[in-house]
């Protein structure tokens, strides 16, 4: 699983030296908290043989439950799904029974290179998710940063209240939030009631498959696809349809995502903002910088590592959107809210095409890994420049 180690933060494996291992510097904490400041290690001394054996036994014993769980419910499942993705298993009996055969890359080629419904659905799901990522990640990051900067002000009445208010949606379950948004964006729901208040007429949000970019183009008079765009395409979707933009239904789901996650990311930004040395901003004030200049020249550069963490987490999270799709739209209308994660579920559990469903999961995995590496490269290049 070498693909799993793009982070470059793995310790050298198989350290024989019992004490004083090299510690990788500057590991990001799971939620962006800076690691503990002081780390202590036992002094290097020679352990007598018996004590060393005892310590080794205790260590493996204490790690055993976690290791067992990880092997049985993480490593084994992935290996099994890898087998299913290159087999013709139809969901009946065990995938290891004698009448299940390897079919090579057939499931993958049906998705990636053979024209047909599976390829087209995968293409559509990737398009939908791509727009989702491109719009949700920057907006939620900017919103989270903005809220964090304001809420971190020293003299602010009701700071605790605002912080709680912004964070609360993050801890609410996806089911409750989906219900809330079905109501808010319902055809006779909250948003449309507001729109009606302005005398306009709101769309039937979750039933509207029209792409936003297509709607803009048709507003400009472009209603039919130029033949150059309609005749050619990628992954079974014409270039014209790639340019559809997110559907109206997807826009509502994006609003849900931004509303739910910005609080989480605000909470990741806050400690980083507090960690900025006070004399930096004081020096800027003395130099006569206004608050925007201070933000732009002092705060933002200092927040770079956190920004990278938030963008990475956002990217990984947005490619995995599943719950909301399952609960709100099931990929409808007209397949415009289909995402690879949901398509993988639908193909396996719905159509019993287990090989293809597992293959989609691995394709999604590959997309996430590749994009994370690309993002890492872009940011580190900029840092070096």
């Amino acid at each position: 699983m070498s693909a799993l180690e793009p982070a470059g933060q793995a310790e050298p494996a198989g350290q024989a030296e019992p004490a004083g291992q090299p510690e990788p510097a500057g590991q990001p904490g799971p939620a962006g908290q800076p690691g503990p400041a002081g780390r202590h290690r036992f002094p290097r001394w020679r352990l007598p043989g018996k004590a060393r054996r005892q310590e080794t036994a205790a260590a493996w014993l204490m790690s055993a439950p976690v290791i067992a769980l990880l092997v049985v419910f993480l490593v084994a499942p992935i290996l099994m799904a890898a087998w299913v993705s290159i087999s013709n298993w139809t969901g009946i009996g065990s995938p290891f029974s004698a009448n299940v055969h390897a079919v090579g890359i057939k499931n993958y080629s049906a998705l990636l290179s053979t024209p047909g419904l599976p390829q087209q659905q995968l293409g559509e799901s990737i398009r939908n998710n791509l727009y989702y990522v491109i719009l949700v990640v920057p907006i939620q990051t900017a919103l989270a940063l903005g809220l964090a900067v304001i809420v971190s002000r020293q003299r602010l009445a009701g700071r605790g209240f605002f912080r709680t208010a912004y964070y609360f949606p993050s801890i609410t379950s996806s089911v409750a939030v989906s219900i809330l948004f079905l109501f808010i964006f319902g055809s006779s729901g909250v948003i449309n009631a507001i729109i009606n208040g302005f005398g306009a007429h709101g769309p039937n949000w979750f039933a509207d498959p029209n792409g936003v970019l297509h709607m803009v183009l048709s507003g400009l008079g472009v209603t039919t696809a130029p033949s150059a765009l309609a005749g050619h395409g990628f992954l079974g979707v014409s270039w014209w349809d790639w340019l559809a933009g997110p559907s109206v239904a997807m826009v509502a789901i994006m609003a849900l995502a931004i509303w739910t996650t910005s609080g989480t990311f605000m909470l990741i930004f806050l400690p980083a903002i507090y960690a900025i040395p006070a004399d930096l901003s004081e020096a800027a004030i003395v130099d006569g910088a206004n608050s925007w200049q201070r933000f732009r020249r002092v705060t933002l550069p200092q927040l770079r590592p956190t920004m990278f963490l938030v963008l990475t987490l956002g990217l990984i999270g947005t490619w995995q959107v599943f719950d909301q799709i399952y609960l709100i739209s099931q990929g409808n209308p007209a397949g415009t809210t289909l995402t690879p994660a949901f398509l993988s579920y639908l193909t396996s559990f719905g159509n019993q095409q287990w090989g293809q469903g597992a293959a989609i999961a691995f394709i999604l995995f590959a997309i996430i890994v590749v994009l994370t590496i690309v993002q890492r490269l872009i940011i580190s290049e900029r840092r070096n420049a």
């Binding site: 799993l4 180690e5 793995a10 310790e11 050298p12 494996a13 198989g14 350290q15 024989a16 904490g29 799971p30 800076p34 690691g35 780390r39 036992f42 002094p43 205790a58 260590a59 493996w60 204490m62 790690s63 439950p65 976690v66 990880l70 993480l74 499942p77 992935i78 799904a81 995938p95 809220l147 304001i150 605002f162 208010a165 912004y166 609360f168 801890i171 609410t172 379950s173 089911v175 409750a176 989906s178 219900i179 079905l182 109501f183 808010i184 319902g186 909250v190 509303w259 400690p271 960690a275 399952y326 609960l327 994660a341 993988s344 559990f349 287990w354 597992a358 999604l364 995995f365 996430i368």
Partner: protein, 276 residues
């Protein structure tokens, strides 16, 4: 200059209030609409106050087996949380403090596993549960959620920060490795254990997708999958807003209670605990 300052301050608070409304008003609407009649809910979506307060949504919810879902959610959450807290801190201690061959490799493997996106695991988890005859059982819903690498990481980071002299003192007093861990070092990790407890409570209480692929019989539904059925199933078509919003409200209350009690552990942001 002074007037501009005041103006800036007013604008700041207006922005803060605007966002606070944006984040809180939906919940107020949720609470109000849960006590409305269906016609009232459809006619006045923006008004958080019912014209007549009715409990019909909650009565209906009870008929939908809500209490069984609640019990299942409690069972799953309690076992997942106990398992994670115990196993993660044991492994975290071993990885931070005990000297053994393969420690570096084990830690690297755990870091690599943390990078596997959860949603990719849905089909694989189902396959393994089927193979092990755990599909559609409580252990089948609990064990995959108990599998956790991030918690091991959190605990390891904490144990690395504990000064070794404390353990040496325990050793001199004749305590063995397990005793030192259990009665000396672990009690020091209370804040971290709290964090881990809250994380796994929230993670398992709110989990939808893993529970979804781990069972099929309605009697094993938790709050998330049970209420999810209300939305995406045949009832969803009728858009019974009061019923759905009552369900959303009821399942959010326990999370809200935990949140408000343990706020200081959740909203720990490094500005020092004294200022709040």
């Amino acid at each position: 200059m002074r007037r501009r300052r005041i103006l800036g301050r007013v604008l700041l608070y207006l922005a803060l209030l605007f966002f606070a409304v944006l984040y809180i008003y939906p919940f107020l609407l949720d609470i109000g609409t849960a006590f409305k009649t269906e016609t009232d809910a459809a006619a006045h979506p923006l008004n958080p106050f019912p014209q007549h307060w009715v409990l019909s949504a909650f009565r209906e919810l009870e008929q939908e087996d809500f209490l069984r879902w609640l019990a299942n959610s409690v069972i799953v959450t309690v076992f997942v949380t106990l398992g994670r807290v115990l196993f993660d801190s044991m492994a975290g201690y071993a990885l931070a403090r005990l000297r053994f061959r393969g420690r570096g490799g084990l830690f690297a493997a755990i870091l690599a596993i943390m990078a596997v996106p959860g949603v990719v695991l849905l089909i694989p988890t189902f396959l393994v549960l089927k193979q092990l005859n755990l599909f559609n059982t409580y252990p089948g819903m609990i064990l995959p959620l108990m599998t956790d690498a991030a918690g091991v990481f959190i605990m390891r980071q904490f144990f690395l920060s504990v000064h070794p002299s404390i353990e040496e003192a325990a050793k001199i007093d004749g305590a063995g490795i397990f005793r030192t861990f259990w009665s000396v070092v672990l009690p020091m990790a209370r804040p971290q254990l709290m964090t881990l407890t809250i994380l796994s409570f929230q993670g398992s209480w709110n989990n939808f997708s893993t529970i979804l692929v781990a069972h099929e019989s309605p009697s094993l539904d938790t709050l998330t999958t049970g209420v999810g059925r209300l939305v995406s199933g045949e009832l969803g078509a009728g858009s019974q807003y009061p019923l759905q919003l009552a369900a959303a409200l009821a399942m959010t209350i326990p999370v809200a209670i935990v949140f408000f009690i343990f706020q200081k552990y959740i909203l720990r942001t490094g500005e020092g605990a004294i200022k709040e």
